[in-house]
């Protein structure tokens, strides 16, 4: 009886701590706190605030990337979605900051783009075909 209980408990602990659990039961997005920034919904925030929001997403993506190495043996596609999406959010904020004249944002934008390109290259290695880019295809009509 006691052994059974311990076994069941261990199975539960294993299940709840596995990445599969995280994937299947919807953890909140790890960068949700970035949306809480009071300037997030501002039509044209000051350039330093724009940069700060971009950094929030960027730093979250970096942290997730480090964490992702631990999950390589598992189906970590949810984590991967969050990394890519966080990087795209960062990219959009850094682009705006650059347009607003924030010089620090240029470096961040370059770094983000490098991450994104590496991410897409990793994706290319997994597939026979490269992703479709606007210039790489004849128009359909």
């Amino acid at each position: 009886m006691g052994t059974n209980c311990i076994t069941r408990f261990s199975i539960l602990i294993f299940f709840f701590s596995s990445p599969l659990f995280a994937n299947t039961f919807f953890m909140p997005a790890p960068y949700n706190h970035c949306f809480d920034d009071p300037y997030y919904n501002d039509v044209s925030p000051p350039h330093d605030k724009t940069l700060a929001i971009g950094k929030c997403f960027y730093q979250t993506a970096e942290k997730l990337l480090l964490d992702s190495y631990e999950y390589e043996q598992h189906d970590a596609s949810s984590n991967r979605t969050h990394i890519t999406t966080a990087l795209h959010y960062a990219d959009s904020w850094f682009r705006l900051a650059v347009q607003q004249g924030n010089t620090d944002a240029v470096t961040f934008l370059q770094h983000t783009e490098r991450y994104l390109i590496e991410d897409e290259q990793k994706y290319n290695q997994l597939h026979t075909f490269p992703p479709v880019s606007e210039g790489s295809h004849a128009t359909t009509h």
């Binding site: 299947t24 919807f26 997005a29 189906d75 596609s77 979605t81 682009r95 783009e113 897409e120 075909f129």
Partner: protein, 454 residues
């Protein structure tokens, strides 16, 4: 005196003509095409040259025998055979009939297929709707910023759309049956196909369909929407309420969230633009819902023209009660064996992010059905100029109500190789219940708390 009178009359006529020209979206001559060579909502009535798209002859003539309102819809085209199936190995023969997003899906997933069937144009329009659209053709206008409408009598403000903004407003203001409630499931499978179904219950009403509708109350609101999560247990009880405004720049969308854990109602200004969609695991944005919703102000919209493309259409089989969710939700993409594609004429509308504006989609390309003004497919580009996400809205004509809506929508993320499928109701008792009589009281923040009870 006679000359003065004549001059006055002449001036009045000129003034009237100028005023009319300023107000009218199309000339009376153009508007007169509606119902003649154009359908009542502005599609080409005739078929295409090679007869693969038929003439519109008023829509589905007869409701399938045995259908009862409230019961599952009977597929009027169930006997149609598949004409051919597009797959990665033969897609090159069909490139001119595929969107770039569809091409990307076929190139990315070796198992992706598109079964193509004979084209049908089942959508019909009521006399009441036709009257409204005729009125709109002559009167509806975009406000100068493009972020709102004036003189619009409800649905389909621009049946003869002249630009991308007018086309996208037709999608946003298309006829959805007035009011409804629905229960459906959505899922975000991992790459290996693991998923937890999330059940939603929604209530929707056009402002004009409210039982206590008053012309002068809340006149900047176009629709009311409430969405409650019913399962799984850890998300159940969370409710979203939206009052969607027409001019969202003048008055942003009003949104509230009831959090069942905290038992609190909070304002939710983040439910707009590119914030993540509810329980979407970061696979869609708030403005992806219903293929596109919300303010158009962050983009420049261009109407590229019309194309004949294979679009998800008449998707009755995908909605069949004989299917289980596991039959449809498969790794990497849905099981397209149950999908139906037909050749249809669509408007291609390209939205490019404005200078000084921000969104995670640098560009979005929408394909809008000529017979419904509904977006049937979309491609979303990232900041690097690559197609990142691809969406398809599998529509179905609800013949007892006279509206065609996306019954199942699929949003693919090509980088993470995942997708979100929403609108599934195969295992639910009912899905769409049209003609619900809601009042403004059903869409107040205090109503949220009541809806949130588990």
């Amino acid at each position: 005196m006679k000359i003065v009178n004549q001059l006055s009359t002449f001036s009045a006529v000129i003034l009237l003509m100028i005023t009319t020209t300023a107000l009218a979206k199309v000339t009376p001559e153009e508007a007169a095409r509606l119902g003649k060579d154009l359908t009542p909502i502005g599609a080409e009535k005739s078929g295409n040259a090679d007869k693969t798209i038929p003439e519109w002859t008023g829509g589905l003539k007869k409701i399938p025998e045995g259908f009862k309102p409230g019961q599952p819809y009977i597929d009027p085209y169930a006997d149609d055979p598949i004409m051919f199936t597009i797959n990665p190995s033969n897609m090159d023969q069909h490139l001119d009939r595929l969107t770039l997003g569809q091409q990307a899906l076929l190139k990315t997933y070796s198992t992706y297929t598109m079964p193509v069937y004979k084209t049908h144009r089942p959508v019909g329009y009521s006399d009441e709707l036709i009257k409204l659209v005729n009125k709109n053709a002559l009167n509806a206008e975009l406000i100068p910023s493009g972020n709102g409408l004036k003189n619009s009598a409800g649905t389909y403000p621009f049946p003869i759309a002249k630009n991308g903004l007018e086309a996208i407003w037709n999608h946003v203001r298309r006829y959805r049956g007035g009011s409804l409630n629905r229960t459906y499931v959505h899922a975000t499978p991992t790459k290996s196909g693991q998923y937890t179904p999330i059940t939603f219950y929604e209530e929707f009403s056009e402002r004009s369909a409210l039982k206590d509708f008053s012309k002068n109350t809340d006149d900047n609101v176009m629709l009311y929407f409430k969405q409650a999560v019913k399962s799984p247990a850890r998300l159940a009880g969370n409710v979203l309420l939206v009052h969607d405004t027409i001019d969202q720049v003048k008055e942003p969308r009003r949104a509230w969230i009831y959090n069942s854990g905290q038992r609190r109602v909070r304002r939710a200004p983040q439910v707009s633009y590119d914030s993540p969609g509810t329980a979407s695991d970061a696979l869609i944005t708030a403005d992806n819902f219903d293929m596109h919703n919300g303010a158009p102000d962050r983009y420049d919209w261009k109407l590229v023209g019309k194309k004949e493309l294979y679009m998800p259409y008449n998707s009755y089989q995908l909605d069949s009660k004989s299917l289980k969710y596991k039959d449809i939700i498969t790794p990497l993409h849905i099981n397209n064996k149950y999908a139906r594609y037909e050749l249809h004429r669509v408007f291609e509308v390209v939205a490019t992010l404005k200078q000084g504006k921000r969104h995670i989609y640098q560009k979005r390309v929408h394909y809008i059905d000529e017979d419904t003004w509904a977006i049937l497919a979309s491609d979303f580009y990232d900041g690097l100029g690559n197609i990142w996400r691809v969406a398809e809205g599998h529509n179905k004509y609800f013949y007892d109500v006279g509206t065609a809506l996306s019954t199942v929508s699929v949003y693919h993320d090509l980088i993470s190789n995942r997708y979100l499928v929403t609108g599934l109701a195969n295992e639910e008792a009912t899905k769409f219940n049209f003609g619900q009589k809601f009042s403004t009281r059903d869409f107040t923040p205090s109503a949220l708390r009541r809806s949130g009870k588990r």
